[in-house]
């Protein structure tokens, strides 16, 4: 149980680090999410390396340093041929990071014994892991769509980050079912177990002893039903 939690935390740490590379890309740092001749692109903006200037840091690129389109009456496009407005979709990156961080905190809370044994808490964590996976996958797909073949390594790192979350997700669902079985068994064993089982020795001895002596409870037949009845079918 504890090992599973530790393993989940380790996986999510890896995923968070991978996602962090994309978040801190250009213009926050010099790591580009995508490059084209004279330009470097990131989640929060892009930089024109020819004039060494970067756009304002926000979701969705502004057109201030965009390359001049050919012919001039057209709107400027990204190297993949998409319009700049599509870059608003890059919002999924910080969203994915935030959701993964929340999942990390929730799993960290599982190290508390009482919470770790609560099926409802585990179920909610397992359910929460599903949108985490979906949004992380969406971030990778958005990167692929916006930058396509010009995508750099921080963008490709989103794929292993997604796979890692998928593994964590399946682990959480398995953990939930294990805890569910464990709790059920504890509950059952705490109640008086009404079903009696007998060794086969008693059963066989019973057949050897004459039927008059067989009056005590211990020598009851193995599968005697509580009620025996006769009825007729109308």
């Amino acid at each position: 149980m504890k090992l599973a939690v530790k393993f989940c935390l380790a996986l999510l740490t890896v995923s968070l680090i991978f996602q962090l590379f994309a978040i801190i890309s250009t213009p926050l740092s010099s790591i580009p999410l995508s490059t084209s001749p004279g330009f470097e692109y990131g989640v929060f903006g892009y930089c024109n390396t020819n004039i060494h200037k970067c756009s304002s840091r926000k979701i969705g690129y502004s057109l201030e340093f965009a390359p001049h389109p050919m012919p001039p009456n057209k709107v400027p496009t990204l190297p993949s041929g998409l319009k700049y407005s599509v870059t608003k979709l890059l919002v999924v990156h910080p969203l994915s990071f935030a959701i993964t961080l929340t999942l990390y905190v929730l799993i960290f809370l599982m190290s508390h014994q009482q919470l770790a044994n609560s099926p409802m808490f585990l179920l909610s964590i397992a359910l929460f892991s599903l949108p985490t996976f979906l949004i992380c996958l969406l971030s990778f797909l958005v990167d692929l769509l916006v930058f396509s073949s010009d995508l750099c390594w921080p963008g490709w790192l989103m794929l292993p980050a997604t796979i890692v979350i998928a593994v964590c997700c399946s682990l959480l669902w398995n953990l939930r079912s294990t805890v569910s079985i464990k709790n059920y068994e504890t509950l059952q064993s705490s109640r008086a177990n009404t079903i009696e089982t007998h060794s086969m020795h008693d059963w066989r001895d019973r057949t050897r002893i004459p039927s008059i002596i067989r009056s005590d409870d211990h020598s009851k037949p193995l599968l005697e039903p509580e009620l025996t009845y006769t009825s007729t079918i109308d």
Binding site: P71, T77, L144, S180, M200, P225, T230
Partner: protein
């Protein structure tokens, strides 16, 4: 359709072609049957060559270039167009031939899959899902049939009018044809619901099944509603500034959902890999199922990376959906049969889970009894041989819950029974000998009986037989047919025997 083409492919015209603009030809004679007089003298003739999205097109008529010479500027532009390079300027994959090939192949595959669905899927266990799948596949087949007809008609009109055939005109049908869009939306919605039901089959516990339905159905509904909004709302199409991010988001959302489906199916096939490689046929089917679910994400990657033909994912969407539902369905059917065969060899017959309350307790009790039997016979080696051969264990992977340490363990013990065990060679030979002996003896016995009958020696034997039959009939209650008795496992003394 909200495909990548609706927001992508700004055919930027990195190179401009002069022949697409008006050309002043000066004065001269115009000859043509569309003119009021067949021959007219004009002072200033203006000529504009037919272009498709600012790209030159060439006459596709068989003898066009021989009968009528093109203008020099048009020929030059055409030669420039042929030597172009770059992402948007592929020569073959942007032509009409790959598109025609794709949508006709698409048509054949979808219709074949629909036929297979109607032939293979029966309504027994998953009645509503199978009907939904049949209906979805049927609608997509009809849709693709209508689309092929319209596309070919459009190609004909284009050829008749301009003497050319462009891929763009067929691709534009995807966005402009309302019938296609509506039918496509309905069929995809139905098949996506089927996919949710297929995923539902993968989970053994009731709670997981419920969660799968409660999560899957809203996701499918949201995905399709979002898909429909930009497609059918013309106001939104005209204001790309505010709604420009919706079509790519919806497109990616669909891809994300199909990727999640692919992930689940692939991981399930990995978990059940033992059954997947059970036989050669099963191995092929498993491989096909995994490939077909991965096809849609792969087509997305080819689409965005411009690996082959643009919008190929869009062309194959419906086929991908029908294939990924039907082939996975068939694969699961076979997988379940194999699994059930193995589970049938156990005492419980199937796995029991803790949320099945009563059944789970009964199952645990049955296992305890079985273990008690096992322990008992383990102690007494001689007694073991008395156990009927059908209870004797064979290794298998039935999972039972051990009540002592509360973990799931693989019990490879007495709780398994093998019915379909391959008999040994010696056993087969013995069986054959016995069968041939019986077959040989039958006519001999018959002849003997006839002989005895003829000699009237059977009267006494017949009387004895009738008496014995009467006792048995009375014992099993055939003399009082409308009464049902439930017996205990106590020793039963048949009163009728004493009579």
């Amino acid at each position: 359709m909200v495909g990548p083409n609706s927001f992508k492919k700004q055919n930027s015209g990195k190179r401009t072609y002069g022949s697409c603009r008006r050309q002043e030809l000066g004065s001269g004679l115009l000859v043509g049957d569309i003119l009021p007089d067949i021959v007219t003298f004009v002072d200033e003739a203006l000529f504009q060559s037919y272009c498709d999205h600012e790209l030159p097109v060439y006459n596709t008529a068989k003898d066009g270039s021989e009968s009528y010479q093109y203008l020099k500027i048009v020929t030059e532009d055409w030669n420039r167009y042929l030597t172009r390079k770059g992402v948007y300027d592929r020569s073959f994959s942007y032509g009409v031939y790959p598109v025609v090939l794709s949508f006709t192949a698409n048509f054949v595959i979808t219709v074949s899959l629909t036929l297979l669905i109607f032939l293979n899927i029966c309504d027994r266990r998953y009645k509503y899902t199978s009907r939904l799948l049949k209906m979805g596949a049927m609608i997509s087949s009809i849709n693709i049939l209508i689309f092929v007809t319209r596309a070919l008609k459009k190609l004909k009109i284009e050829h008749d009018m301009y003497g050319i055939a462009t891929a763009g005109s067929i691709m534009s049908l995807y966005t402009s044809d309302l019938t296609f869009s509506i039918l496509d939306l309905i069929s995809v919605f139905m098949i996506q619901l089927c996919q949710v039901m297929i995923l539902n089959r993968l989970f053994p516990r009731n709670l997981e099944k419920r969660i799968c339905i409660f999560l899957g159905v809203p996701l499918v509904v949201v995905s399709n509603v979002l898909w429909a909004i930009p497609r059918f709302d013309s106001g939104m199409q005209n204001s790309p500034r505010h709604w420009g991010t919706l079509p790519p988001f919806v497109y990616l959302f669909r891809i994300a959902l199909s990727t999640s489906y692919a992930c689940t199916i692939t991981s399930y096939s990995f978990i059940k890999r033992r059954f997947c490689i059970h036989s050669f046929q099963m191995g092929i089917l498993s491989l096909l199922a995994v490939l077909v679910v991965l096809l849609q994400p792969v087509l997305f990657i080819t689409d965005v990376s411009d690996a082959w033909l643009w919008g190929v994912g869009e062309l194959f969407t419906t086929t991908c959906y029908v294939g990924s539902a039907f082939i996975v369905w068939e694969w699961l059917e076979r997988l379940n049969t194999l699994e059930r065969n193995e589970q049938a060899q156990s005492v419980l017959g199937r796995p029991f889970y803790e949320d099945e309350q009563q059944e789970y307790r009964i199952a645990r009790y049955a296992l305890e009894v079985q273990w008690a039997l096992g322990e008992d016979y383990d102690e007494d080696g001689e007694e073991f041989s008395k156990i009927p051969s059908f209870i004797q264990d064979t290794p298998s992977s039935l999972y039972a819950t051990n009540s002592k340490n509360t973990t799931i363990i693989g019990r490879e013990g007495l709780d398994q029974v093998r019915f379909n065990q391959q008999p040994a060679m010696k056993e087969i030979l013995r069986q054959k000998l016995i069968t041939s002996y019986i077959t040989l003896m039958r006519p001999i016995r018959q002849a003997r009986r006839w002989g005895l009958k003829m000699l009237n020696f059977t009267s006494k034997e017949k009387g004895e037989n009738a008496e014995r039959e009467g006792v048995v009939r009375k014992r099993i209650g055939l003399d009082r047919r409308d009464e049902v008795y439930v017996y205990t496992t106590k020793d039963i003394v048949f009163e009728s025997d004493g009579e």
